[in-house]
């Protein structure tokens, strides 16, 4: 030991007083001749080493499809910012969008195609992979091919559809585990558009039934911008008031002036009660309200509503007064109201309040009509996964392609997807990681990251005009021989199947360019020659489509309400409802392998790198649960083990378990972390749309006796200054001590 120390000492001495004779060591930590520095061969004039340039593209991390500009220096993309030209995010970008560089540079990305040989997946060359793909596709009989994708729009959708058709099939399924289909169907029926344009900033009051529009719902960055203006008082409008009604608090709920914990599933009852109160004393002719709503509402007086929803009569009266006084308002319906067997009726009753209140035409407008239905967004739903699975189970498909989906992870256990999947003869999965679904495939094709790929997207929610957003590579492929664009693979398939139509396109890029140039006249401001148009389109990242404005109908179409099953007797075996909460960071689990997203504290509980079960303090007290107890949350369909977090922002009859964790095969940052509540969902479906009722699962909770440690930044516990170094860095006040404004 002594000897070692002496030697160390001498070494340091040697470097400290270094000179040339010691071989030039010890002066710096960087040696000559170790790293390579490559110059450009023929750079553009604006390409200067060390100085960043910005390229516009589209963020594909969620359905909002915000515009981004990527900062690129020395050929590497470093950071994304919001694209100021985009009407959706207007220069802003959320944390999830920022984190897409971690999908790009992720160490777990696939770098070579994998083919199943002798039972295992073995790396093969792209040449072999494509040859197998083309041969197997060619051998597929008509009607025995199916394509399962995530939500898709733009020209990729056209290629997906055409590739499917070229294989003699029309079976393209679009699957979104976090589908908003119930909401879209209800909005379509009530307003005549699936995604009506919402002017939150014009409203004086927002009443949201579980629509977490600041964090996870539809187009959060856009709504957050609107919300900031909504909250700011001006000469023309007062500061907006937000009321959030939901069984489990979301970030939007935490921002609300009043948060109302409602008994899960009874949102429609409250909405009808409100309609009843608001319509009282008004002649039916004076308001444009769907007749079925007016008829149904009459049965819901204050007392009945209070009994069924758990919302006190006092709070109900305040809400009615707010709605009367603050016009125009907006009433939103979100997943916690829609995820029930009567979800569609809930959504219709809630959205119909906009008719009752006269908001339609003021704060609820229609988007312009899209002139190209073939590139219209296919937003996806869960019913399509059921159809796809049913097809697989019936042995209808010989060859299936899967892109941008991970059903082995996100399908509920009752679907038995993993067991049924092998029934397809040849399974091709396009994937960035060897995820749970790719692991089961016969051929895994590694795809480009969103920052390497070309694409066009048509956001489903269009805040102004009609925008087609362009996606372009922000840098060269990280693995030039390893990954390919899905568009390129499909185009190659189409070239084989329909050479006459497709032989003219060298690659996906050429196809996109030609497709957009052919339709130049459809875009606003498209002056100059083709080259100028294309360059300008790429530099802006957004193309505005000439589209015909639509006006809201004068009178609402009628709806059919069906509240059967809305009020159910308590279930002794499974006394709680499960709230599988969507986190803005992980969403449906596809982002679990982004360390930034794992490290980002949950918006309300501040927990990191894990799953947890939110339990109301009263329930916790009754069951003897404290923070960190490992609970078994069991439904009739399965169970999971997860640490408890005592949380007041939840209805006492509800257990909240966030989605996104519990991966078995996604990558080093995701695997073996937390639990996956998708697995334990009950087979309950919305009666009208057939969508999986996400909030209808009943569970029981039992303590396992084991203990975990809840890793978090800071809890809700007010006055707990332990983690603030004993200094009042953030001063908090308990909710019951805060003076809520009189009117709210």
């Amino acid at each position: 030991m002594k000897n070692v120390q002496r030697r160390d000492f001498l070494r340091v001495l040697g470097w400290g007083g270094a000179s040339a004779s010691v071989g030039a060591c010890g002066f710096t930590s960087i040696d000559s001749g170790v790293e390579t520095v490559k110059s450009y061969v023929e750079p553009e004039d604006f390409n200067i080493p060390g100085i960043a340039v910005y390229y516009a593209s589209t963020c594909t991390q969620c359905e909002a499809l915000c515009g981004v500009v990527g900062r690129v220096r020395d050929g590497r993309v470093l950071k994304l910012e919001g694209n100021p030209v985009s009407g959706i995010n207007q220069g802003k970008l959320c944390g999830l969008g920022q984190a897409s560089v971690q999908h790009h540079y992720n160490p777990d990305r696939l770098r070579a195609p994998l083919m199943r040989q002798d039972g295992g997946l073995k790396p093969v060359s792209w040449t072999d992979a494509m040859a197998t793909l083309l041969d197997k596709s060619a051998a597929t009989k008509d009607g025995r091919f199916a394509f399962l994708t995530g939500p898709v729009s733009g020209h990729l959708k056209v290629l997906v559809r055409n590739a499917t058709e070229s294989l003699g099939s029309n079976q393209h399924f679009t699957y979104d585990p976090l589908s908003t289909r119930v909401n879209r169907a209800a909005a379509d029926q009530l307003f005549g558009a699936e995604s009506p344009r919402l002017l939150l900033d014009q409203a004086h009051l927002i009443v949201s039934f579980g629509a977490d529009f600041l964090d996870t719902w539809v187009s959060p960055v856009h709504f957050a911008g609107q919300y900031a203006r909504f909250r700011r008082a001006s000469d023309s409008k007062p500061r907006g008031v937000l009321v959030q009604i939901e069984p489990r608090m979301t970030l939007t709920g935490a921002n609300a002036d009043r948060w109302i914990a409602i008994r899960p599933g009874s949102e429609g009852v409250l909405a009808l009660g409100l309609a009843n109160a608001l319509l009282t004393g008004k002649s039916a002719a004076s308001v444009a309200v769907p007749p079925a709503i007016a008829t149904a509402a009459a049965a819901f007086d204050k007392t009945r509503v209070a009994a069924e929803t758990g919302v006190s009569e006092e709070v109900f009266d305040r809400l009615v007064r707010l709605l009367r006084e603050r016009a125009p308002s907006v009433v939103l319906s979100g997943p916690s109201a829609e995820g029930h067997v009567h979800g569609s009726s809930n959504a219709q009753a809630i959205l119909a309040l906009n008719w009752v209140l006269g908001n339609v035409g003021k704060t609820v407008l229609l988007p312009p009509k899209l002139p190209f239905p073939q590139i219209a967004p296919e937003s996806g739903d869960t019913a399509s996964l059921q159809q796809f699975t049913a097809g697989l189970a019936a042995g209808k498909f010989d060859t299936v392609f899967l892109h941008d989906v991970n059903p082995v992870y996100s399908a509920p256990a009752f679907l038995k997807y993993k067991e049924i999947f092998p029934k397809a003869g040849f399974k091709v999965v396009f994937a960035q990681y060897l995820d749970e679904t790719a692991r089961e495939a016969d051929l895994v094709l590694p795809v480009d990251s969103a920052l390497e790929d070309w694409g066009t997207h048509l956001p489903a929610y269009q805040p102004e005009g009609l925008e087609l957003t362009l996606q372009q590579p922000l840098m060269e492929r990280l693995y030039p021989d390893g990954t390919r664009s899905v568009g390129d693979v499909l185009l190659e398939l189409l070239k084989r199947r329909r050479p006459e139509e497709y032989k003219g396109f060298a690659d996906y890029y050429a196809y996109l360019r030609a497709a957009l140039l052919r339709n130049r006249s459809a875009f606003v401001d498209a002056p100059g020659d083709d080259e100028q148009f294309w360059t300008e389109a790429l530099s802006k990242g957004v193309l505005r489509v000439n589209a015909q404005e639509q006006h809201v109908p004068a009178k609402a179409a009628n709806v059919e309400l069906d509240f059967a099953g809305a009020t159910q007797a308590a279930d002794a075996q499974y006394p709680f409802r499960l709230a599988p909460a969507v986190r803005a960071s992980l969403r449906d689990g596809r982002n679990a392998n982004l360390p930034w997203m794992q490290e980002t504290p949950d918006t309300l509980t501040t927990i990191v790198w894990d799953s947890w079960a939110e339990v109301h303090p009263a329930t916790a007290k009754r069951l003897g649960i404290v923070d960190g107890d490992i609970l078994e949350v069991a439904s009739a369909s399965g169970s999971l083990k997860v640490q408890a977090y005592v949380f007041p922002g939840i209805h006492p009859d509800v257990i909240g378990v966030p989605l996104g964790q519990g991966h078995e095969s996604m990558g080093r940052y995701a695997d073996g972390r937390g639990a996956n509540p998708f697995r334990i969902l009950d087979p309950v479906f919305d009666r009208k749309t057939g969508e999986l009722a996400m909030y209808a699962t009943r569970v029981r909770v039992t303590k396992t006796g084991a203990r975990g440690h809840v890793v978090k930044d800071e809890g809700w516990k007010s006055g707990n200054l332990k983690t603030q170094a004993g200094r009042k860095l953030v001063v908090t006040v308990a909710a019951d001590k805060a003076k809520l404004s009189e009117e709210v």
Binding site: A18, T28, I30, S32, G33, T36, K38, S39, V41, I48
Partner: protein, 226 residues
Amino acid sequence: MKTRNLRARANCDGASRGPGRWVVRVLAALALSLATGLSFAGDEVAQPIEFPHDIHAGKMGINCMYCHTYARRSRVSGIPPLRKCIGCHQSIESVKDKPRIKKLFEYWEKKEAIPFKKVNDLPDFVRFSHERHIQRFYFQLGRPVEEVCGYCHGNVRGMTVDVKVEPLTMGWCVACHQKDHPNGKPGVVVDPARVIYPRMETADRPAQLVIADTSHGPNDCWQCHK
């Protein structure tokens, strides 16, 4: 045991292990540094093309910034783009058959960058800007280019491939930053509150004469460690 953090220089370990040899080395080092005044000599680096700086900068007298065109505009000086080399050499018939030029055109025909090895490099936590140094000493103070570049890179006119001639350590940088490099500008009256460096005036002091453009290099940590 703290000293352990400072070791682990793989390429310095190697042949001469054992306390005895170290003592000899250290003594030799001390003796030499006393004799030469802390001189430094970098390793010779094998490059894919042995670029003759002595011909270009020395014999031909080409301004450094003709090829290293990014130095005055960017943080890094950059290896010149291949196109730049070809731009001249396609018209210089006399050397076209020389092996180095043949190799150059091979890269050009393949449209492939030449994988030169870095000779002067700094750790990633140091943000050194060529631009600021060139702008100050060459453009503002009008010093000769070979002198300005030579502060750090030495006399490249005497080298074929570049060799590191200065240690580029923090102490070495600071030694120069502490020297005065007067720019001949008169002082300007500024609001002292706006001057964070070099004087930490407070806002309640009256405006006074300070030389906003300090005559020596910045001394703040964050200037280089962003």
